[in-house]
Symmetry: C2
Subunit: 444 residues, 2 copies
Amino acid sequence: MRHDTLRLGAFFYATGHHVAGWRHPSSEADGGLVLERYVGWAQKAEAALFDLVFLEDGSGIRDGNLRSSERTARSTHFEPVTLLSALAAVTSRIGLVATTSTSFNEPYNVARRFASLDHLSGGRAGWNLVTSTTDAEAANFGADRIAQHGDRYERAEEFVDVVLGLWNTWDDGAVIIDKESGQFSKPDGFHPLNHRGTHFEVRGPLNISRTPQGQPVLVQAGASGPGKDLAARTAEIVFTANQTLDEATEFYGDLKGRMGRFGRDRDDLKVMPGLFPVVGRSEAEARAKFEALQDLIDPVVGLALLERMVGSFDLSGYDPDGPVPELPEANGAKSRQQLMFDLARREGLTLRQLYLRIAGARGHSQIIGTPAQIVDEMEERFQKHGADGFNIMPATLPGGLDDFIELVLPELRRRGLVRTEYEGRTLRGHLGTRPPAAHAPRQG
Amino acid sequence: MRHDTLRLGAFFYATGHHVAGWRHPSSEADGGLVLERYVGWAQKAEAALFDLVFLEDGSGIRDGNLRSSERTARSTHFEPVTLLSALAAVTSRIGLVATTSTSFNEPYNVARRFASLDHLSGGRAGWNLVTSTTDAEAANFGADRIAQHGDRYERAEEFVDVVLGLWNTWDDGAVIIDKESGQFSKPDGFHPLNHRGTHFEVRGPLNISRTPQGQPVLVQAGASGPGKDLAARTAEIVFTANQTLDEATEFYGDLKGRMGRFGRDRDDLKVMPGLFPVVGRSEAEARAKFEALQDLIDPVVGLALLERMVGSFDLSGYDPDGPVPELPEANGAKSRQQLMFDLARREGLTLRQLYLRIAGARGHSQIIGTPAQIVDEMEERFQKHGADGFNIMPATLPGGLDDFIELVLPELRRRGLVRTEYEGRTLRGHLGTRPPAAHAPRQG
């Protein structure tokens, strides 16, 4: 029996995680362009004592399929660090986690922006570090193709070292503002970094002093070996996608097992997989809600979802109600998604049946049911060490968020699984973690 | 007699433009790190119907003199785009202008962030485009030295073309959010950019739709020939430093005269020089306020100010009350600041006397006097076509801003020189300008 409580993130993808969520009559589908919508959602999540708001990001329209992009709500959206800066001014307790890629940014700029967000919010900033994965993004930055996985992670490892180093170029308490003596900061209170590495040379110091959290919280989502090592060394939150309990406990154990090599305690990293809940007062009601969304999926959008799963195989000429076609031979090992595609073909599914399977949770854990059924699964995954919490992905906004708050949270509270008040004022305070050392060795 | 009104910017440098402003007993010297301070100042400026808040920026601590940096309020401050995003949530009418350098950023990222700020603020964003000028900043981005002036402007010219192009990759009204048909944006409502230039290759489209202003307002501050050409082609505001009326009218005429070559109308660019006012109910009161600030200047800080004027000549061993030393021979033509240094030496000034001359306005127009005296100078410069408005640089914050609002604004209003209510809701609406064409030729 665990004595801590579940951590909860409000994961806002476009205006609802379900690919057709924006089409629901209740959805605030202009949320990607109207600040007031996000203010409303974030304030609801804060009133419900969520640990954090989580915004994913890409450096371009990742879907190469133009017809599909015109029919989804994700082609246009706020840049997440600016959006969270705005939310910082109208919230006071909830953590603010934004995604920024290491692939097409400079570490000095990223360190500054998240330090600024941490000051603006009084210690509530988190940086979800990703490497960009699509050629569509690379093409916005002078490259034809995205870098190889290993190269991306090599750059990311050095990038995060520079950022952590810059966040520590100012000592704690260095800013004294002594009007009488004229000493604004302590003598020798900030220092150069003098980083000279393979990808970066950065002198420092940062032109913003040490932040309320000391350093903003690092979040990571990589599931590969290098991704897990980077997370074990530097992250305090890991966002991940696990379908089954077995997958979840294996991932959890593997990740936490790597932390000791970097001198870190298992409790200083919270594993928070995505969770896509569709809740009803009865199972039938939940099922009906889900099916109503499924019915709204445009075949153009559904087929484009499948295309992205398997790379760039063009399905636009195929009949949605025809069989899943055979994929051409892959160059290397097939991804889990490609194997799933093959399996569906052998099971005799149609393309429509296949895209309906993935259109809701998009690879994350999907639970459709009553509050008790949803909380049962959450509790089991938590108690069996498959998760320390969840990033809740509302199918629609605000409806899916309202449903979770009004129906699921009371059950979580009844079982003592969530907090009843904020314990502190910073994101790290909510998590109860300790930050990684700024100069931890890469190989533990 | 001009029939338009003066445009006013609230230029917030650190916690007061005067180098010792932070030491004044009334100053909110923690403003660089506490959002509430900026919220207060921006809301005051909005209540006073200013056109905009203007934030300058640098990509590092530009002062190489560590002892001086510890004794000024500018070594640590919010990153301006995040700060203005926060202010967007708690203001509704005032324009929000942030500085971002073209030297150490990617145009796709800059276009996104300012488009995001424009959406967040409902059409109030402006980008002050600068090229970075110090080696201290270059060292944070892998370079030993800053690029040559010509190279910096060549990159800036292409950079701004890409940004303007990206802002126009979505058509006006492309986002239709038709839940019934499933069409989120119009068919063919957004397009790639396919820019292939010397410095950048950017495919586009932007992953944020056309903004409330169509494109955010461009601001420029370059005073060189290439700088003025870039401004004449693309800017709707030029921020500049002119000391005398003659200098101002010459600059104004030169700049506006260049616009025709780019197919633009003179009224579509507003020249807004910096203005450092110290106001009192009597001239003696104003003078006393100013002297009180001058007395707070630390000699270490004063000498460092002089060092930056002339490059990197080390003055730390010199007696502040000794004569201004002779500078070593310059490689090329001496800057205006170096010539001013030579002049002071020939006039027999001490180093202290010299730094006291520049410590307030730092190169901008300085007026110390009664409201009538200050407004006389503003009006003359406006009527004689030396300025379309001013960026007001309060010596201290909030005191200097309060003084301007309480003492100078009523006199400006009495003479009909400023607006009595906001005419619109966007920055461009306040300015009354028309945007430059996205694809105007570089050579008119």
